[in-house]
Amino acid sequence: MSRESLQHDVEQFLFHEAELIDHRRLDEWADLFTDDALYSAPNAGEEGDPLHEGFIIYEDRRGITERVRRLQHPAALTQVPPPRTRHMIANVVARDGDNGDRVVTSNQVVYFARQGREVQYPGSWEHVLTRVEDQWRIKRKKIVLLTNDRAMSQVPVL
């Protein structure tokens, strides 16, 4: 694959992932992750060492499934009505990772709207993508929010 087409390919993957989240096709979103995936967001700083820092998100594939099922649960107070979100994606940079993986960094802003309230979540996204059966899958996803030094209340799927 040429450099240009590879860039196009990973960008299309990020757009697809964002569309699944924003249209609440969350089961399909969870299926994008590999079985050994780690989905994380450090709550202060950028390193994300679980022994020294806290996390607002720190979960494995099972945790991602659990997150999705809870969001779809009819008794989830914060999801009835559900928030509406839109991911804006820019500055996508892809580089080679280990064993043919691609490390993709991007700047994203998630617009969150619910019951007349609007919040933005801007930050740096890092995906480690791996090829499984000729499809990109997410092995690692780490989000460092610019706002992770302040109090937040209801963070949507990032």
């Binding site: 679980p50 494995d60 649960h73 937040m152």
Partner: protein, 421 residues
């Protein structure tokens, strides 16, 4: 509207109900800052947040900016974050390390014990100007127990020892669950909600709501079984709830004791290496008891300990209808990394603004705040009676789940504090 008399506050607090104005009246909030947060022992921070000389953490006490800092000699000081010259905050960082604090405005320099060390053009301040007279002001009283540092804006009053009373025992338990007898705070998870500060401390002593507010977190957990990420919520069968105990004691404090009926991160069988390390220092029986302890400890007015996920939460009232919570997941010092990683993950799932549990509480709090705007219904109820309420051997009022006994204790203390001029 002025409220200054005991009878005025007394009319707002009954034995088992409080008036809606406690949550909606900004004048009452201002009085709470003066009479509660401006007087009693208020939690400031844990010593492990500032482990090394020069480490500091800024915060506030009754709305007044403070710095908790470890001086070169290891002592911890709690200082007002206010230059003695024109009043600028001398430190604008949330946390960090400093060998001194320099005011950004006219560059006055203070040592980490608050002493004024340097004033530019000091010769122009007159011959009677003494650096020794103009150090950062110390918060009148500071004391600690088990590494938990408290401060009081009142120069007089009961000691921290007396204020904590039986709460010291529960602090001992939280710290004692670490093989090396110490906890290490990590960076705080921070969240906020558009509601009154008292909702959070009421909520932590309330096991009545959990079945309903957390139906989604519980329900998914039950569907997925108890393996895997079992460090979230236990699914103890309801018939075990009768084993759970509530206690109310001292100056508004309280405890929910789950008596090992929820899944525990530190379950002795899950992490044999952790349990072995604890057993080595504590002996089999005590180690088992400590590892299986599951408490919510409410230390009135602003500190909550959660021994299962091993974090402490600090309530920061910002306005009558705006509150910030800082939750500090703690490592158990001497426990294997996998245990500490599981504890951090458990807190992320439970109390993070991107988690599954606390977010639903926040939603409930915001709805309560809006509902309490209704003037036609004046009272907020705490009428639920616990089963077998009695005074135990430690002088604590004790009963079995479920009840609203602990918040009744909060409001007795609220009224006591608010009634003092």
């Amino acid at each position: 509207m002025a409220i200054a008399t005991r009878s005025a506050f007394g009319a707002l607090v009954n034995e088992d109900a409080v008036h809606r104005r406690l949550y909606t009246d900004s004048n009452i909030f201002a009085e709470e800052m003066r009479r509660i947060f401006g007087r009693t022992w208020v939690f400031i921070g844990h010593e492990s947040e500032v482990p090394n000389p020069g480490d500091f953490k800024t915060g506030d006490l009754a709305g007044q900016p403070t710095i908790m800092v470890r001086h070169a000699n290891g002592e911890i000081h709690v200082l007002f974050n206010r230059c003695r010259h024109r009043g600028a905050m001398v430190c604008a960082h949330a946390t960090g390390n400093a060998s001194y604090f320099q005011c950004p405005y006219h560059a006055w320099v203070y040592k980490t014990n608050g002493d004024l060390a340097l004033v530019p053009n000091v010769e122009l301040f007159g011959s009677d100007f003494q650096l020794a007279d103009w150090g950062l002001v110390h918060v009148p009283r500071v004391d600690s127990y088990g590494g938990f540092v408290f401060a009081s804006l009142s120069p007089e009053g009961i000691s921290l020892d007396e204020h904590l009373g039986r709460a010291k025992h529960y602090i001992d338990v939280m710290v004692g669950r670490a093989p090396f007898g110490a906890i290490q705070a990590t960076q705080a998870l921070r969240y906020e909600y558009p509601g009154n500060w008292k909702f959070q401390i009421e909520n932590m002593s309330d096991n009545y709501h959990a079945t309903y507010v957390h139906a989604s977190a519980f329900g998914v957990r039950a569907d997925m079984g108890q393996n895997g990420a079992a460090h979230v919520f236990g699914n103890a069968p309801n018939n075990q709830e009768q084993a759970r105990i509530e206690r109310s004691f001292g100056h508004g404090h309280g405890v929910l004791d789950y008596q090992g009926t929820r899944l525990l991160v530190t379950e002795p069988d899950r992490y044999p290496a952790y349990f072995a390390a604890l057993r080595e220092r504590r002996g089999e029986a005590r180690a088992r008891e400590l590892a299986r302890t599951d408490l919510h400890v409410m230390i009135y007015p602003n500190l909550i300990l959660h021994t299962n996920y091993n974090h402490y939460r600090v309530i920061r009232p910002l306005a009558v209808d705006h509150t910030e919570i800082n939750t500090y997941p703690c490592r158990l010092v001497g426990a294997p990394d996998e245990v500490n990683e599981a504890l951090v993950a458990a807190s992320a799932l439970h109390v993070s603004p991107a988690g599954r549990v606390q977010v639903d509480d926040l939603e409930a709090f915001s709805r309560v705040q809006r509902g309490l705007a209704v003037e036609a219904a004046e009272w907020v109820l705490f009428k639920m009676r616990g089963v077998d309420e009695h005074v135990n051997e430690y002088g604590e009022l004790e009963c079995r789940f479920l009840s609203e006994m602990i918040p009744r204790g909060y409001y007795r203390e609220w009224l006591r504090l608010m009634s003092q001029e």
